[in-house]
Amino acid sequence: MNRTKYTQWFFIGPHMLLFLVFILVPSIYGVYASFTRWNLVSSPQWVGLDNYKTILFNQDSSFYHEFFNGLKNTLIFVGISVPLMVIIPLLIAVAIEHKDVKFKNFFQSIVYIPGLISISAAALIWSLIFNTQLGIVSNLFGSEFAWSATQPYAWIIIFVITVWGGTGGNMIIYRASISNVSKDLYESAEIDGAGPIQKFFHITLPSIRFPLIYTVVMTTAGAFNVFGQPLMMTDGGPRESTTVLMMYIRNLAFSHGESIAGIASAMAVLLGMIILVISACQYYVMNRNAA
């Protein structure tokens, strides 16, 4: 039966074609570029592993410094923003789904709508709010310094805008998932004398495991690619302490001077490998749980 043998292509073929054209070919080019010296204009020159050697081992090179500083800052961002972007939406979802709470869609809308506004407008709103002269935050906290230029406050304003704009999506998924947990489970737990906290940990969390892990994976991958928020809120400062890796990569490739696309590509490939390893671990957990 030749027909059944090839029916899978009906299902995976169209996407495969799209994947080849729009992801595989450009990615191969990107990886190839990481082994070259290239200014985006003249043809790339093969340099083997030189770019990787410079980035990873040449401690005198500014590229080495930029890569590791960028990686450190990216990991700080991922390490703090991902838990925030899971825990805060989860708490809000739990509160909204409290059985006696009314105006559920009203609360949901208020939290969700800021995520729709463009990043540049959001950054402008928050910079005005954090502005020492014009803003409210410094009056509230009585601080005399500019938050964007003082650590750890520079990170804090980045997390504030990230959470403000990014909570809504995960919150909706959690809320829907929680509302679909069988009520019988809660009732039988109440009969057993379980309090709200036990119910949350023993019934809610295990029941929404799949959406939880899915959002963790997607939020993590997104956090590794961050650059809009630090770029607009702190411009990477003070002293490059909030310059994330994607900012260095983009600067190397597309700044005012001649492009240094080979090094930029190598950094992007390294970042991709890190995301790959971390996501693989997360997927492994997810797969095991879902099976």
Partner: protein, 280 residues
């Protein structure tokens, strides 16, 4: 039921606090769109304007040559809607292929593609642009609509969700003589509706908010989506100096997505049930 009462008040307290924190910046942003530049820089923090002015909005709507914002919003609606519909078609079909079809190397192939898709596409825009150019899609909505269909994240979600649907359902349909396509269409598709809605929602917002790629593939100001267009409002050194006007444009730009959300949200809770497809 004393604890229930306490927890209810705690929930309200928490939600009202959160709502206040979330909404104040929005109100401030909206209010700023009704302020003059002089007021923005001179009056200390005030939630509402001293003098309400609509000049910012007049200026925005007046400019239909270099910044036709209504046109941009319309372009974005077309792009995001078409993209979302196609995403739903592609991921459901492909997800079926990777979870229900049995062929050699299926999972290896799937995870290889997934791994490749993780690499950040920074310098890849050069070859990507070239492909779009060869296809003749520069300055057309297809440049925004089609490449995103190749993504793997949503297919993973769908595949994972389908794995939770009992295979017995397929088999009984197969016994009745149903083809693979029939099983996909009549058995699986209705069951994966929740996950398709989630993927659709995120695809829509993702497509609406993308601003790096459209800047490259559009040179025609009349054809741009709104996020790329808003970048044209900054000054030549990348700063937004007319603060009220930028706010006004950003507010106008979120109205369609906001309406969509307000309209659709009552369906979310019943439609998005990611738990059910999964065997415990």
């Amino acid at each position: 039921m004393k604890t229930a009462k306490v927890s209810k008040y705690l929930a309200y307290l928490f939600l009202i606090t959160v709502s206040a924190i979330w909404i104040i910046p929005m109100i401030f942003g909206i209010a700023t769109s009704f302020r003059s530049q002089a007021e923005v820089v001179n009056v200390g923090f005030r939630l509402l304007p001293v003098n309400w002015i609509v000049d910012n909005y007049m200026a925005i709507l007046d400019n239909t040559s270099t910044a036709p914002i209504l046109r941009w919003i319309w372009n974005s609606i077309f792009i995001a809607t078409t993209h979302t519909l196609l995403v739903i078609v592609v991921i459901s079909i492909t997800g079926y292929g990777y979870s229900r079809m049995n062929f050699k190397g299926r999972d290896v192939l799937f995870f290889t593609l997934l791994g490749i898709s993780f690499f950040p596409n920074v310098v890849n825009i050069i070859p990507s642009y070239r492909i779009i150019d060869i296809l003749g899609w520069v300055n057309t909505p297809w440049a925004m609509i089609v490449p995103g269909l190749a993504g793997m994240g949503n297919i993973f979600l769908v595949r994972q969700f389908m794995k939770g649907i009992p295979i017995e359902l397929d088999e009984s349909a197969r016994v009745d003589g149903a083809s693979n396509f029939r099983i996909y269409f009549s058995v699986i598709l209705p069951l994966i509706k929740p996950v398709l809605i989630v993927a659709g929602l995120f695809s829509f917002i993702g497509s609406w908010n993308d601003f790096l790629w459209p800047v490259i593939v559009y040179t025609d100001v009349q054809k741009m989506p709104v996020t790329a267009g808003l970048l044209l409002l900054q000054d030549i050194y990348g700063n937004y100096r007319l603060i009220g006007q930028l706010m006004g444009s950003a507010i106008l730009a979120i109205i369609p997505t906001m309406l969509l959300f307000l309209f659709a949200q009552k369906y979310f809770v019943s439609a998005i049930n990611l738990n059910s497809g999964i065997k415990g």
